[in-house]
């Protein structure tokens, strides 16, 4: 059950230009968070960046009772967050949202992530007890590659692409994913990132009859399912309805979601 928490910053490091990793001390999140869940963060005091910002739980450390979030500066909220001082407290609500399904039935898994979408996938890889785990991560360029080490350790094989070819494959990460699919026969693919990438992964997965979970983003108000602003289209029989990313998601089965 989610709670309002004031948690202390144990560490704050710059991983790449505009990308920061924040480690927070929090027994509750560290012990109870499931992969794919997020925290809703008050990035600054008072009126500045009034609303909370949703940030995925990237990593939990049950032994030290800490967890990590990794975020990219997009606007004022993430900017303020990056300026916090180690030792100060952050007001968060969490763990929130519907997690990835990582039960034992899936033996071979793949994660496909792009940009800020890669962060929840690390936690997923670590939590999964699958026999084989592949990670496909797309970045804009070499400079923005983060957590390579962590993903290497958490997966059996790591594939990287960059838009400009400055590292790994030049082009789309889905190019690499498609290449592996026949060889690997994944039981499930999990994906998070820009909508065009997600759509492509879903298309590939469906074509290859691989189950697929997607983690979506939407602007949020309450983050807990009450205000109904974070709508996303989902199937309801032959019709559709607006579900809500914060509560029904962020993780959905790919065949539930309607992209348009």
């Amino acid at each position: 059950m989610a709670q309002v928490l004031k948690e202390k910053i144990a560490a704050l490091d710059k991983l790449a230009p505009g990308v920061f990793k924040m480690t927070l001390k929090s027994e509750i999140i560290a012990q109870t968070a499931l992969p794919g869940q997020f925290v809703n963060v008050k990035c600054s005091e008072g009126l500045n960046a009034l609303l909370r910002r949703p940030i995925s739980i990237c990593n939990v450390d049950r032994d030290s009772n800490t967890f990590d979030i990794v975020f990219q500066i997009k606007g004022i909220g993430t900017e303020y967050l990056s300026q916090k001082k180690v030792g100060s407290e952050v007001d968060i609500i969490g763990p929130l949202g519907n997690p990835f399904r990582v039960e034992g039935e899936f033996k071979k898994i793949a994660v496909v992530g792009g940009g800020i979408g890669i962060f929840p996938l690390l936690n997923l890889l670590k939590a999964s007890s699958a026999e084989h785990k592949d990670a496909f991560l797309g970045f804009r360029n070499k400079e923005l590659i983060v957590l390579e080490e962590e993903f290497t350790q958490a997966s059996d094989q790591l594939f990287i692409s960059t838009d400009d070819g400055s590292a790994g494959h030049k082009g789309l990460i889905t190019d690499l994913f498609i290449n592996e699919i026949d060889k690997k026969k994944y039981d499930i693919v999990y994906t998070c990132g820009p909508t065009p990438m997600i759509k492509k992964v879903v298309e590939i997965a469906h074509k290859n009859n691989i189950r697929c979970q997607v983690s979506l983003e939407q602007r949020m108000g309450c983050g807990i399912g009450a205000c109904l602003v974070c709508a996303c289209k989902t199937r309801l029989g032959d019709e559709w309805e607006y579900s809500h990313v914060c509560k029904d998601g962020p993780v959905f089965w790919s065949n539930e979601v309607i992209f348009d």
């Binding site: 309450c222 009450a226 109904l228």
Partner: protein, 307 residues
Amino acid sequence: MNNNVDLSVNIAGLKLKNPVIAASGTFGFGREYAEYMDLNKLGGISVKGLTLKPRQGNKPPRIAETPAGILNSVGLQNPGVEAFIKEEIPFLRQYNLGIIANIAGNTIEDYCEMAEILGDADIDAIELNVSCPNVKAGGIAFGTSCAGISEITKRVKAYCKKPLIVKLTPNVTDIKETAKAAEDSGADAVSLINTILGMAIDIHRRKPILANNMGGLSGPAVKPVAVRMVYEVSKTVKIPVIGMGGITTGEDAIEFLLAGAAAVMVGTANFVNPAACLDVIHGMEAYLRQYHIGCVSEIVGKLELNQ
């Protein structure tokens, strides 16, 4: 210190143990917040705006942050009045709090039919939302003219067995006039303000942030406008006024009470702080204790103007 501050209020027959009501559209049907607070502590809840049939609402994005405020364009996503009666009232009735059904429609007939259906439901009041800026037909169209308010209030009142609260829009030249129109047409109380129409632009995409282009502004930013309007209206009508707009703390709520509000609603603040309503109640109580005021209703309208 005197621990017996009497916070109870009676708004045209709607009896609440304290004057703090969760504002419509910001608190769902209470379920989600039950995880974060004891709903028994709330004065009341005005539920998410209901329509006759279920509605999916507007396309996302439905929210944009603005300085000290937010724009929303939810567009009345709700399960419809029947589902509300069947599924939500029984849940809410487990708690000791006032239940206000906030209703909206495309036509006057919609509103009347809802009032009729709700006539036998276990609710404590109806709030007539004639001020939603986020739907094309109905909503705000009724709320910006005195004639519109009059007609809809009169007709709904005929079907209404519970106290009828008319929710006013701030998007008018003179809110005293629309408030008077509501009073004269049979409203038992008025609530204000609904959101102020606004727009926020993504300068990189060169498009409005909201898929609906425009939305309603709420949150701390609107507080001074809301306080002014509550003052104007409470000096104009004799029926009780429920004040809202940017309330975040007990002090904010006291401003509204002094300005003439018999009760307050808390909206946007719930998003930032899920326990905002409780904080408002406690802050209010602390203020009353500080000034040895035994009963919250004693300060309603006690603002003294500067000469």
